[in-house]
């Protein structure tokens, strides 16, 4: 049973719609990530879930009952704010104790609960420091502990890692996953970092300009993006426009730069005069001559090579000024392209994904 769900949630500020018709199901114990570019409405949606912002339309349900009008203080949700929002006048321990004091938990239990969560988030020895004496990562841990200590039904996290440096971010990602596993709490996590979303989530919801464009597991969204926006937002992808698409059973054929290209397509393509073919770079390969075994191949020129250590990034130009990117292992014994060289880029037909929008 879905623990939290929303139905047609919209938000308008003045005449501007910043969220339109968001419908989503958040299952019990799930790690859901709201992913989208800046200004796509992620924080607004999280604030609506938390009860800090009232939706202009739509409803929120918790275990089937309507909580749209329930004030934030009665929802029993934990929240980790962008920028932590710790109480500067209280020590780490007192910050974590705060929600327990609100609930009138007995002194003994409060003390043991606080100590336990301090251990869980790895803050041993820092309990008596004020937030200003803690590092960014430690402050983040206090914020997490404070939001989890009272056993919330839902934990909302607004870009909790964005202010941290890379090492700390990676370390905390691992710990977030562990906390999620250990507490069994439902997490709703906001980020605009796609690799963070892929690494952490059970389910990703992609936001674009106030709309929920796709929801699914990281694998589904990566493999089967619904739109060009989703395809380009999550991971790197090469997009090739197809002219004169013709459907032939479960295969779609079209041309680009005089080359016939094919991709699997099950739904009906009638009415489309043009569409795009999206291919993840990991499915592509380069060769000096046109490969015999592959139907999908493009002749490209190497524009630029960037050495990245383990791999070398190639910038390739195809017909019609189309730029494609690709990376090859730096140490491979086989074919190493050089700048300016004309080479062939190919991929198996079943790895292409047809995009109409």
């Amino acid at each position: 049973m879905a623990q939290i769900s929303t139905n047609g949630v919209s938000k308008r500020y003045g005449g501007i719609t910043v969220l339109s018709e968001i419908g989503i199901e958040i299952n019990d114990g799930e790690f859901l990530t709201l992913l989208g570019p800046s200004g796509s409405g992620k924080t607004t949606f999280l604030m609506i879930l938390a009860g800090f912002v009232e939706p202009s339309a739509g409803q929120l349900f918790k275990n089937g009952s309507d909580i749209t009008q329930l004030p934030a203080e009665q929802r029993n949700f934990g929240m980790v704010f962008q920028g932590y929002a710790l109480f500067p006048h209280l020590t780490a321990r007192q910050n974590i104790d705060y929600p327990l004091r609100i609930r009138g938990v007995p002194q003994d239990k409060r003390r043991s609960d606080v100590e336990r969560i301090i251990g869980t988030v790895g803050l041993d020895g820092h309990g008596d420091k004020k937030p200003s004496q803690l590092s960014g990562g430690q402050q983040q841990r206090v914020a997490l502990a404070r939001a989890l200590v009272f056993g919330p039904d839902l934990l909302l996290l607004d870009e909790p890692l964005s202010a941290l440096d890379r090492n700390m971010r990676e370390q905390l990602q691992v710990e977030l996953k562990r906390l999620h596993r250990e507490t069994g709490t439902t997490f709703v996590f906001v980020t605009h970092d796609q690799s963070e979303a892929l690494a952490l989530s059970d389910k990703i919801a992609i936001f674009d300009q106030g709309k929920l464009v796709q929801t699914g597991t990281p694998e589904t969204i990566y493999r089967e993006p619904n739109t060009r926006f989703v395809a380009e937002f999550l991971g790197s992808i090469n997009i090739v426009p197809l002219q004169g698409p013709v459907q032939d059973g479960s295969v779609l054929r079209g041309t680009f730069g005089g080359q016939l290209l094919a991709a699997p397509q099950s739904s009906d393509m009638n009415g489309y005069t043009s569409c795009c073919l999206a291919i993840r770079p990991e499915h592509m390969r380069v060769s000096r001559d046109r490969p015999q075994d592959s139907t999908n191949a493009l002749k490209v020129q190497v524009r630029d090579l960037t050495y990245q250590g383990a791999t070398t990034d190639l910038v390739l130009s195809a017909a019609d000024e189309l730029i494609l990117t690709f990376s090859v292992p730096s140490t491979t014994a086989e074919f190493q392209p050089r700048a300016g060289e004309k080479i062939w880029l190919s991929w198996p037909a079943d790895k292409g994904k047809v995009l109409t929008v």
Binding site: A50, F52, G78, M79, F81, G83, A85, F87, H89, Y98
Partner: protein, 278 residues
Amino acid sequence: MGSVRQTQVLQTVLLWTLPVLVLPFYIAPLLGVFEWSLSRPEPGLQNYVRLVTDGDVIAVLLRTFRICLLVTLISVLCAYLLAYHWVFGSPARRLIMEICIFIPFWISVLIRAFGWIVLLRTKGVANDILLFSGVISDPLYLVRTEFSVVLGMVHFMVPFAVFPLASVMRQIDPKILLASRGMGASASFTFFNAFLPLTLAGIVAAIIIVFVFSLGFFITPAVLGGGKIVMIAEYIYIQMFQTTNWGFGAALSVGLLAIVAILSALLFRVIRPERLVR
């Protein structure tokens, strides 16, 4: 390099302006007053002995403290509410608050005191309204009472208390208050456990400013007290210019200065505002 040289000269001039002005215009007269208190009418400590034994003086001092405490309490409370709405209110409310806070600054303290007399006197606007609406049947004697003095002083002091309070409130991250609510806190829990402690430094500053300022108030109690509610500053004035008791007036001034200094030092010691600011 001429410009470096000029900068150095400018720095020196700016650095020394204040001490150079303070010395002849403040320290020197102060020492003069101190000297008077010990030498007039004849050398000795008799002026200071009178300070702590004269029943009149003690009565004036006690009245001054009582009024100042009351004024401080009321002003800081009003200012707290005003500052809250000024900082957290809607844009329209903020504008109204700004007008209410700044307009009194442009009106002279004398005019404001007389304004209160117009409002409060026996045939004044306040009595007219109360009589007309039937709340009272005989006019109230509001002028030349402690009530009118306190009212006039509060009216003057509130804006001064608003500024330190608004400044600490502006530093509060609104997300902190949201966080408190989100954890389930009621409005009063959030106020007493988050908002109040975070504004404590401003409260202390406002209390010190209002109390110290009130101790030396002259015009407002003189006009609204009408000679009946005499506070220490007016009492000093009477000693100096009406009874020409220069030495005793000077001793009172020195005593007032000492009280203000000790009180400020104590307040700072006890509450340590510098520790409250993060």
